[in-house]
């Protein structure tokens, strides 16, 4: 994970806000008895001008967090039009939904998924996250079973804009020979396989060896699959008769 997205993006994560119908808007939780089952977390980026935008094409590639009994997550983003250089726009029309009601717990009344760590990647985003001013995580928990719910350890990661992360690895798409596959799996050892193995270690061509062994395996499996199901009805076990068995016949 860290290889792909390097360091998490520097950002300010606000406290979780419980939404309640009485306030009509997001307020800090003040011990309101009514559970709306909905919470919001705002994330701001430190500089007014989004550092991601200035680096050209670099955008938020993934969101990672640990769930704590939230059933659904919706992520909304506030973006800045590129021509507005300095002041962040505050009108609500800039909010876009990135992820809509993503299911974190398959069944909101059951335990499954309640403590998992999730990583929502660009593939699941409805739009690209560039020129971001702030993000808002909206958590929902319709079930009354749980006393409280939240998410922790929110981390945002950059995407280098390289879509290769989401393409299938080469060794899976290449249906060809096993040689490129080995290259993919053991890039460090590959040179050694090619040049040193036959000379120094004294090992024959691993591909021939492998195919030979696989054929032998297949034959043995074939033989095993063709063993008789029915017995020929011998009474004896290990060369001895069970006298009781004979007495009944």
């Amino acid at each position: 994970m860290n290889e792909k997205w390097e360091k998490p993006i520097n950002c300010t994560i606000k406290h979780t806000v419980t939404l309640s119908p009485s306030s009509g808007r997001a307020t800090a939780s003040q011990g309101i008895p009514f559970h709306s089952g909905c919470k919001a977390i705002d994330v701001y980026f430190p500089s007014v001008i989004n550092p991601e935008a200035s680096e050209g094409g670099e955008i938020i590639g993934a969101v990672e967090f640990q769930n704590d009994y939230a059933a659904f997550i919706t992520i909304r983003v506030k973006t800045k039009a590129t021509d507005q250089a300095t002041k962040p726009a505050s009108s609500d029309q800039d909010w876009k939904t990135v992820v809509n009601a993503f299911k974190l717990m398959p069944d909101c009344h059951a335990e499954m998924g309640s403590q998992d760590t999730f990583c929502i990647t660009r593939k699941q985003f409805a739009c690209d996250l560039n020129n971001v001013i702030s993000l808002r995580f909206i958590l929902q928990q319709p079930s009354p079973m749980w006393k409280d719910f939240n998410i922790h350890k929110i981390k945002l990661f950059k995407s280098s804009g390289n879509r290769k992360h989401f393409a299938l690895p080469n060794w899976l798409t290449e249906s060809g020979s096993s040689k490129p596959r080995r290259k993919e799996l053991e890039p460090g050892n590959d040179l050694m396989t090619k040049t040193e193995m036959p000379k120094v270690v004294g090992v024959p061509d691993i591909d021939i060896l492998s195919s030979n062994l696989q054929q032998m395996w297949a034959l043995a499996e074939e033989a095993a699959a063709n063993q008789p199901e029915q017995s020929i009805g011998r009474y004896e076990v290990d060369g001895c008769y069970d006298i009781n068995l004979l007495a009944y016949t």
Binding site: I208, N212, L219, A220, N226, R234
Partner: protein, 259 residues
Amino acid sequence: MADRRKNLTGQTVEIAQESERQFMEKHNVSSMLKDVVTKLLANRPVDPLSFLANYFRSSSSDYRIDDIVMKAVQTLTSTHYSRPVFETNLITAFQLLSNSKLSKRLRGMNGAIHKQVLQALCKDVPAPVQEKLLKKIECFDHEAISFSIFRSTVFTCFVLNDFLTLSKSLYTTLDLQRNGKAQKTLCQTSLQQLRESLSNSKKDVHRIMESSYNLGPDTLYSVIDKAMSENTSQGEYYSHDQFVIEASDIFLSKVKQLH
């Protein structure tokens, strides 16, 4: 015209005058040729010429095979067991053998005949392997052989033959110096990998995936590399026979003991 005139005058040369078609029909050659070509195409043997030779030898009166066992073996070996017609051959052979005379009134196949067939099928198998195989699949002389037993035991013999051919070629691959001394570590590691793959007892498709992964070039390479680096039996060798016998032991572990 000239022939006919001769016919009218002298009847002694009549034999020489019969047409080609008549000759063929008289000796039943055309039906026989048709038969052999059909059989040849159905069986598609590896060596068609020797198949034809065998066929004609067994059908010529001088060499007629009286031994039912030999006849059955010939039927069974006439094609590779992976071909569909092998099933037909199995049934033919089974019917042939079931017709063998056991006593004055009794006809059928018993364990003794069955054993003869298996021995004939395994004549190229090294003696110790053959002994172990027969111990598992032979029946007692007095036991009657059902078709399912016959089928699976014969099948096992054929697969074993192929398996041995493969293990011989594997040894040639492992024997880098071509002097009949393959390195012990190398042999043991390869066989161990095969053994592990076969001993996987999972029932579903995962077993196949895992096994083929275990025997894939990547895993094999890392396992051999590891074994070679901690090489404990430096300078020890596996002979050809030793290797083949150990490989066939792995095979035999998959063969069920008849009971």
